[in-house]
Amino acid sequence: MNPEIERPQVGLFVTCLVDFFRPNIGFAAIKLLEMANCDVEVPKAQTCCGQPAFNSGNRPDTQEIAKQVIATFSQYDYVVAPSGSCAGMLSKHYPELFRDDSQWSEKAVDFAGKVHELISFLVDVRGLNNVGGSYKGTVTYHDSCSGLRELGIKEQPRQLLRSLHGLELRELEECESCCGFGGTFSIKYPEISNAIVTRKTNDIGATNADLLLAGDLGCLLNMAGKLSRDGKRTKVRHIAEVLAGMTDTPPIGQKN
């Protein structure tokens, strides 16, 4: 696959969770983007995609945040986020947010056209099918809901994982089932969220994999937190960290 632009300007949408909880993912994303021949910038004026407001029914605040995001990132060829749910918000929901706004509708649609989730950007746009390198161990992969259903991310992460020498991928029985995070859902309906994530961690335990990967930090924090509370052995990382060979940082929720 021939990438359209030789050396594109990519604005990295870090995401609020990566920024706050796990910068390592942001650095891994940059490394991968540079591997794919991109010039990466990280605009300072970014905070959040607005999902918390959007999913709580607060359209006015969401629109204000969205305008900010669109203005900050409009100069880039591509906008890439290491998160299916954030990329989904920016590319699928921003246009809908401004559908009735004559001034912002076109801007939102133009902007949405540039937005990609990290893994799908590498494979589908940059034509990367091999990251080189190796990972010795058994890995299982959770398909985060937004990435899967809004953006069609399914084969791409598996393709890149298979290109790592020594990695054994074990599929979850219910890899496409929700992990129970759902943003504020996990706090508003904690018992139900717990029931759902328990089902997921039992599934993870059944694979006996060394490592759990996914493309969304929200899901990962949720599953890691449950695995830890239940004393299960599987460690947790964002897929970007493994693909970029940046596994010096301890896994999510582990100290050295």
Binding site: V14, C16, V18, D19, F20, F21, R22, P23, N24, G26, F27, K44, A45, Q46, T47, G50, P52, A53, N55, S56, G57, N58, R59, D61, E64, I65, Q68, C145, S146, R149, E150, S177, C178, G180, F181, G182, G183, F185, S186, K188, Y189, P190, E191, I192, S193, N194, A195, I196, V197, R199, L221, N222, A224, G225, K226, S228, R229, P250, G253, K255
Partner: protein, 476 residues
């Protein structure tokens, strides 16, 4: 059925802590989802048919008044009667009057969600009629005094032991030492018990999966044959249906039938799909003398022309709840009314009001599986979000939640302030956690840390580290 949706939190908590119920749910597992997947794989045109089904219903809804008039005309032409009911009470009153007119004593019922919605059984029983549910699942819950927990498998929350217990208690005329270990034996007993009721019934009441405008026919889709015995043996057949059940032609009905059973149970087609048109014809040796269709509004016209219009495409297959992680965890009774799962989360607030049913559209992770499998392509998560928007606009969101989000939004709109606060918070968290990689409990939080640990942040934000990196590079 008195709605109890406002008690969703308590009810779901009870369900989650009910060991026997959770065991039953575990056995049900992903069975329906698996079967639906297999049925879809066996029919290459399945997704295209879903698009066509959607388009058919959209066309009907845009012309609902005209199609209703045509349907009515054709029912009358075939010798049937049409009654119109604005509310649930109106419908119940009409039906009771029809039963009184023929001095009915026993009324048999085919499976019908709409009759649950209007509380018909209670109304008729209070009016002195004997009402017998003949669908096995409906019968099982009727004898327990419970409501349905699934729109096509109403007794899915029961296990074989519970059913055996109920039968032994209820069916006193059978020998006490009989064996009831197998489902087949229980089914055979139910068949015997209900056979007499079919034969003595004066009035048979069914719902309708479809109302065919072209011919004035009503359609029921079943597997047991109870709906057919209900509507063919008694003197009077009453069909109760809400107005959005209209489908234009037999061809259109065939298209939607192709996606219905496959989405519901994974069958290619149900055992019995029956088209009923008018009362018996002159010379027919069996069939009802009188045929009545009761058309019900009960809030549908208010959904038309709004952002909830698409919900009226629903054909009550149950696929959404079969694939919903929330429904699978808490079961249908948690939703507190007739319609559970994702379709209930959208429909119940329309019919009951968002103040009573508010929890339902909020208790969703928006995983999107429901929309993924809906044969009528209904954008369920989007409509749940619309309910959250309505709540927010009318100030019904909880004060604490609203305040929290307001504060967060204040920061999110101001990047420099946000980054400053993030840096402080990240450090604070990491300091509080000390050497521990997890935070096990947070004061005032009974949400996250009640069941999970919270991974400690790395201690510095990405923006902070990135800036530091850039400065280092510039200096060197």
């Amino acid at each position: 059925m008195e709605p109890k949706s406002q008690f969703f939190l308590d009810r779901s908590s009870q369900a989650l802590n009910n060991r026997e119920l959770q065991d039953t749910f575990r056995k049900v597992g992903g069975g329906f989802a698996k079967k639906r997947g297999e049925a879809r794989a066996a029919l290459p045109e399945f997704d295209q048919l879903r698009d066509e089904a959607r388009d058919i219903k959209d066309h009907v809804l845009e012309n609902l008044d005209l199609y209703l008039e045509e349907f009515e005309k054709n029912v009358l032409n075939s010798g049937g009667h049409v009654h119109w009911a604005k509310t649930d009470q109106d419908a119940c009153a009409i039906i009771a009057e029809l039963c009184e007119k023929v001095d009915a004593r026993t009324i048999t019922k085919g499976k019908s969600m709409i009759t649950e919605e209007i509380g018909l059984n209670d109304y008729l029983e209070n009016a002195g009629f004997e009402v017998v549910e003949t669908d096995l699942g409906d019968y099982l819950i009727q004898i327990r005094g419970e409501g349905p927990s699934h729109i096509i498998a109403p007794a899915i929350h029961l296990n074989r032991k519970q059913i055996e217990q109920d039968f032994r208690t209820r069916h006193q005329s059978f020998p006490a030492d009989r064996v009831l270990d197998e489902p087949a034996q229980l089914v055979a007993e139910a068949r015997q018990v209900l056979r007499n009721k079919f034969l003595e019934s004066d009035v048979g009441i069914t719902g309708a999966n479809f109302l065919v405008a072209e011919t004035g026919s009503t359609v029921i889709v079943t597997n047991e044959g109870n709906g057919d015995l209900t509507q063919c043996l008694p003197r009077v057949h009453i069909v109760v249906a809400s107005i959005e059940k209209i489908v234009p032609t037999l061809e259109d009905t065939s298209t939607i039938l192709r996606v219905l059973a496959r989405s519901a149970t994974g069958q290619e087609f149900s055992s019995y799909t029956t088209f009923s048109t008018g009362p018996k014809k002159a010379g027919d040796p069996d069939g009802p003398e009188n045929f009545h269709v009761v058309l019900l509004d009960n809030g549908r016209t208010e959904m038309l022309g709004t952002e909830f219009q698409e919900m009226l495409r629903c054909i009550r297959c149950g696929a959404c709840m079969n694939h919903c992680p929330v429904y699978q965890a808490v079961g249908g009774h948690s939703y507190g009314w007739v319609y559970p799962g994702p379709m209930g989360a959208v429909l119940a607030p329309s019919l009951l009001g968002i103040d009573r049913a508010g929890h339902l559209p909020n208790a969703s992770t928006f995983c999107g599986r429901c929309e993924d499998v809906c044969p009528m392509r209904i954008p369920l998560p989007k409509m749940m979000r619309h309910w959250r928007e309505r709540e927010f606009q009318s100030g019904q969101t909880s004060a604490i939640q609203k305040a929290g989000l307001k504060i967060w939004a204040y920061f999110a709109k101001r990047p420099r302030l946000y980054h400053f606060a993030s840096r402080q918070a990240s450090r604070l968290f990491a300091t509080v956690a000390g050497r521990k990689s997890y935070i096990r409990s947070i004061p005032f939080d009974s949400g996250w840390t009640a069941h999970r640990d919270l991974p400690t942040p790395q201690g510095r934000t990405f923006q902070e580290l990135w800036e530091a990196d850039k400065e280092r590079q510039e200096k060197s």
